[in-house]
Amino acid sequence: MIAAAEREYDAPAREASAATVPLLAVEDLVKVYPAARATLFGRRRSLTAVAGVSFELAAGETLAVVGESGCGKSTVGNLVLNLITPTAGRVRFDGEDLSAVDDARWRDRRRDMQLVFQDSRSALDPRLTVGAQVREGLDIHGIGMPAERRAEAEAMLEAVGLGGFADRYPHALSGGQQQRAVIARALVVGPRLVVCDEPVAALDVSIQAQVVNLLSDLQARLGLSYLFISHDLSLVRHVADRVAVMYLGAFVEVGTRRQIFDDPRHPYTRALIGAVPVARARRSRHGRPVRLTGEVPSPLTPPAGCSVHPRCPFATERCRVERPAALRQPDGRIVACHHPETVP
């Protein structure tokens, strides 16, 4: 079952390369959009959606990017997949610098890097059966013999719990089933990296758990790497190996799941986690909750100094003037804050 994917995963060459270089390495990714003038003869402005983001992702690992709406987390996913062109920075996949490759090579690479996003209704073509849409990826990349592709697509649908749904149209599926179909379509070509952009945000709680479990089963079975973009911190705690907390286009804290959730250092991370309402508190919350004031400023007019300072209760004069560097801490995590240790 899922022959294409497993065949690829078993290849010894892949194992070897994964051990030496990270599957995905992103260096100083920047995306700036031009914006309209504010006044008739005003200065032409720009909107910095992503302001220098770097991270690595190992084979079989899940890195979650969390943040509030408009922080640039979805843009990071699209930049990694080259769905939008970065203003600056580099994306290396399996050691290969993708900023230098031509279109033909990119088409080839797309097979290794797939996207699953939130709106499954618009992700599926209403005029094609689910089976045809899953098979399409195999046709595009010329995977397997044409005669085998149908069986391959059905096997993939079976694997996501949609056995026997190949001849149905998207509108005949529930929201959860549509999202399973989207996952099947992404995974049928045997990718090694899947960017999951809010993959369960549109689903009800009981269905959400079904899809989350499916994603982790497939990861265990196929050795996938996930770049998991989400605003839902409880969910991220459940799926992520490492977590990057993003604010106004930059990572403010990157660490392992335990570091981020059990011992957050950056005031923004602590505020985010502290703001999540819990149905049943299993354990007392770490430290005093941090309350942020106000809302995220417009990326058109980002604050000087530390981007969090206008909302941060611990901000000092230094925070207002000097932008903190993202520094590696003794425990291996990265924090961009002037006073991570003095925060009560």
Partner: protein, 327 residues
């Protein structure tokens, strides 16, 4: 015993699709909201929680109507209209004592009217005040809901405000004229968590200061835990569990509520594996016989396919023939 602000009894709502037989998305729901308390109404999308509120507010749209049951506001019946009572008077009673805020504040504010205009209008409609004092009161209300520089902001239009401030403006419209009950339907769902926390804090403060009751409608059990004194759980158009929030969340008696809690990831502890509720919510035109949840329920017996269970027991009541043990 005090008179409930809102008393819904055995409410059934009917939808008449243009070319299909009628469906009943709310069936036999009874709710009470006491003065000053917060009742949390929770359920997944399509469970009928919003329609229940709209029916209480008299805001059901085309082809949707109350098919049975009654709604009373502070002891006076507003639905079905009492024979001989003036319909306009009933409507007045309803909108003077109850207010509602919704999920998408940007769509709920009129884009061509200033914020101050809209708050003043609501105040005038509820109190019959004149224009000038209503304008002044609007600025005070905007200040009360935490909008900075309320005098200046009153002249702003909705598109000039951020999402959080738009929801604050909606709350100002809702609390203008001091209604006894505020219905908040997924009022923080569209907001970021840090802004959501601010809005929840605002609602709690307003409740302390004005003594209004809140009917807090959401799909998020975490929000219910933070906001509600009592919780009512809906599934496929029916109320299936009801009781004090802490008691229900600590030891739910209905398998659906228990299933929802198991399906939730936790932010403060690692869970090996989430336990989903298998299957999907039944479609309204294909409701199963007996208990609507039975086809997805691990505890269901043959009797569940025959009898429709009603709320039983206490203090936590569950509409289930085989409820989980009380704590």
């Amino acid at each position: 015993m005090s008179i409930p602000v809102l008393a819904i009894d055995d409410l059934t709502v009917r939808i008449d699709p243009p070319d299909a037989p009628p469906v009943f998305p709310v069936r036999g729901v009874s709710l009470r909201v006491e003065p000053g308390e917060t009742l949390g109404l929770v359920g997944e999308s399509g469970c009928g929680k919003t329609l229940t509120c709209l029916a209480a507010m008299g805001l059901l749209g085309r082809r949707v109507a109350i098919a049975g049951g009654s709604v009373r506001v502070e002891g006076r019946q507003v639905a079905p209209p009492e024979p001989g009572r003036d319909g306009a008077r009933t409507a007045t009673l309803r909108h003077r004592r109850m207010a509602m805020i919704f999920q998408n504040p940007s769509g709920c504010l009129n884009p061509v009217r200033s914020i101050g205009w809209q708050v003043a209008e609501a105040y005038q409609l509820r109190t019959g005040a004149a224009r000038a004092p209503a304008r002044r009161r609007a600025v005070e209300l905007l200040d009360l809901v935490g909008i900075p520089e309320p005098g200046r902001r009153a002249r702003d239009y909705p598109h000039q405000l951020s999402g959080g401030q738009q929801q604050r403006a909606m709350i100002a419209i809702a609390i203008a004229g001091d209604p006894a009950l505020l219905i908040a339907d997924e009022a923080t769902t569209a907001l970021d968590v840090t802004v959501q926390a601010q809005i929840l804090e605002l609602l709690r403060r307003l409740q302390r200061e004005t003594g209004m009751a809140i009917l807090f409608v959401t799909h998020d059990l975490g929000l219910i835990a933070e906001m509600a004194d009592r919780i009512a759980v809906m599934y496929a158009g029916q109320l299936i569990e009801h009781g004090p929030t802490a008691a229900v969340l600590a030891a739910p008696r209905h398998p659906y509520t228990a299933g929802l809690l198991d399906a939730l990831p936790f932010i403060d502890e690692d869970v090996e594996r989430l336990v989903p509720i298998e299957g999907t919510v039944p479609a309204l035109d294909r409701l199963p016989h007996g208990c609507s949840f039975a086809p997805r329920c691990g505890r269901a017996g043959i009797d569940c396919a025959i009898h429709v269970p009603t709320l039983r027991g206490g203090p936590v009541q569950a509409a289930c023939l085989h409820p989980l043990e009380a704590a």
